[in-house]
Amino acid sequence: MKIRVAIINACSIAAIASLLLGLAAGIAAFAGALDLDGFKFWFNVSTVVWFIASPFWFVPGLFGPEFAKAGDEAWLRPKKK
């Protein structure tokens, strides 16, 4: 169970980091520090990481009942009352 909780926690951090990466790429291009092709590259990286990581964070139940259960104990998941 612990390993699954750790995977969900790691994925939630990776997912947030991927969004920040995409945002940073946009801001860098806006500020002229990155050209449009550079923005597209980093944004695509952000997209790939997001779609690999976020399902574990958002819908752990997709990966089986064990993950669903682990989701209740993960950091950034809604807690059952």
């Binding site: 969004l19 995409g22 945002l23 790429a25 946009g26 801001i27 291009a29 806006f30 002229g32 990155l34 449009l36 923005f39 597209k40 590259f41 944004f43 695509n44 952000s46 997209t47 997001w50 779609f51 976020s54 399902p55 958002f58 819908v59 139940g61 997709l62």
Partner: protein, 476 residues
């Protein structure tokens, strides 16, 4: 006839059986739950088109920025002060509340109208998604000014896209809802980051004042609209932002959500979804289309949503167009299937969804639907608007007039003719109102309210209790 009515009533009721009872207090949700629910709720594939359309209609930057601001505030207030107060007092879905007010006959007509409108809306979303898929196969996709299919390649891509969306709606609706939740934060980021990234392509800027100047002169210049487009001003924008979710707030379909609210103030949480989706995303797609037109040296109206997103964010942009269209077309198609289930004699759900998907896919082949998206959104809200007024009148005004509330439910009517006549006459009146389509719903709402109150008084006199015994088993 009475038997047929009974069958329709039973079929309708069976569909909505799971939410027949008012929500109990232990099921009420916190404000945080509503904030989470609404976040990302209003980011669909159509946002790529709507924001770009404003550019084509030659709107001015100030009109757009302030029009959207005021319109979205009005929309949030409509959720808070029109929809949520009724929902938290009654704690039923619109379906069950309308059944008490108008009888099963009115819910039946409402469902059919809704299903048809849902199919057109889902069709627009599939068209938008197909413009991105077409890029991968080098198929000429329609721009924002085309009416007819652009060729066999386009039709094939739409048919395949529509087929996949339909199949997914049949087999995995629940999984797709979960997948939509995964897509929402990323989708918002695509709009925001891509618009930021392409801004330097529109022109040079060194300060906020430069940026505003750029917006006023290069993006929303207020110049002549594109061929075949009419000019839109502040009030058009304001009303558009207000009515684009009319079906949900003034027409009350979001009672289904707010019946779980602790109080009407939960309506304010809709701002969490509306402002990113109907403000930021529309401004962002306007920036993207303007930048794409400048860099690609192509008139904005000749650029498809897929091309625009590909130019601004590459693969991620095209993926966003596909996913935004797909994840919103699916629930829309599912709802259409649900609504149609009431008129089909015992067809299984998959057959109905297939039928709805086929109709939707045929609609999607014609770019005219997304080309006329602004007008369609207006018509969609307008058609259902009288029902919102009828429910509002029955809930708040009828008791003050000393009339019995919920006469259809209490007296076992199959249909309240007052509701049906108010609906039809209001739409007829709206047709002739001498004003722009975007504005008609507002006077129309008051016309519907007045007509219903008048006709309800007459109907009350003409149809005393138990006069209509033709619909056994329909009393609430």
């Amino acid at each position: 006839m009475a038997e047929k009515r009974k069958t329709i009533t039973e079929r309708l009721d069976a569909l909505y059986e799971f939410d027949r009872e008012p929500v109990t207090t232990d099921k009420l949700q916190t404000g945080r739950s509503f904030a989470a629910l609404f976040a990302g709720e209003h980011v669909a594939g159509t946002e790529f088109v709507i924001g770009a359309m404003f550019v084509l209609h030659g709107v001015k930057a100030t009109d757009l920025v302030f029009g959207l601001l005021i319109g979205n505030i009005l929309a949030v207030l409509s959720w808070t002060f029109i929809c949520a107060p009724i929902a938290v007092r009654i704690r039923l879905t619109l379906y069950w509340y309308l059944r008490r007010i108008g009888g099963p006959g009115v819910t039946f007509i409402y469902n059919i109208a809704n299903a048809f409108l849902y199919c057109i809306l889902a069709g627009a979303m599939i068209s938008v998604a197909a413009t991105a898929i077409g890029l991968a196969f080098d198929v000429r996709c329609p721009g924002l000014n085309e009416v007819w299919p652009t060729g066999a390649g386009w039709v094939v891509i739409v048919l395949v896209t529509g087929g996949v969306v339909t199949a997914l709606a049949i087999f995995g609706f629940e999984r797709i809802s979960q997948f939509s939740a995964v897509c929402s934060p990323w989708m918002l980021l695509v709009f925001f980051a891509a618009a930021l990234a392409v801004l330097p392509q529109v022109g040079p800027f060194h300060s906020a004042a430069d940026l505003w100047e750029l917006a006023k002169t290069k993006i929303w210049s207020g110049g002549a609209p594109a061929p075949g487009r009419e000019p839109l001003g502040f009030w058009h924008i304001c009303f558009f932002a207000w009515f684009c979710n009319l079906a949900m707030h003034v027409d009350l379909s979001d009672m289904a959500l707010f019946r779980y609210a602790k109080n009407y103030k939960s309506g304010l949480y809709t701002a969490v979804g509306v402002f990113p989706g109907h403000y930021m995303a529309w401004l962002a797609s306007g920036v993207m289309i303007a930048a794409a037109a400048i860099v690609l040296k192509t008139p904005a109206q000749d650029i498809s949503p897929g091309q625009m997103a590909w130019y601004a964010a590459g693969f991620s942009g095209a993926l966003a167009v596909v996913l935004a269209g797909w994840t919103t077309a699916n629930p829309t198609m599912y709802r259409a299937g649900l609504a149609l289930q009431t008129v089909t004699p015992n067809w299984p759900r998959w057959v109905i969804t297939l039928a709805a998907g086929t109709v939707t896919t045929v609609f999607a082949c014609f770019p005219y639907i997304f080309m006329q998206l602004l007008n369609f959104v207006a018509i969609y809200g307008l058609i259902l608007m009288p029902i919102g007024a009828v429910v509002f009148a029955e809930h708040w005004i009828i008791p003050r007039l000393g009339l019995q509330q919920y006469r259809a439910g209490e007296r076992g009517w199959f249909v309240s003719w007052a509701a049906v006549a108010a609906w039809a006459l209001t739409l007829l009146a709206c047709w002739f109102l001498p004003m722009h389509l975007f504005f008609r719903w507002l006077p129309g709402w008051f016309i519907a309210l007045g007509l219903y109150l008048l006709l309800a008084v007459v109907e009350d006199k003409l149809r005393p209790a138990n006069a209509d015994a033709a619909a056994p088993g329909v009393a609430s």
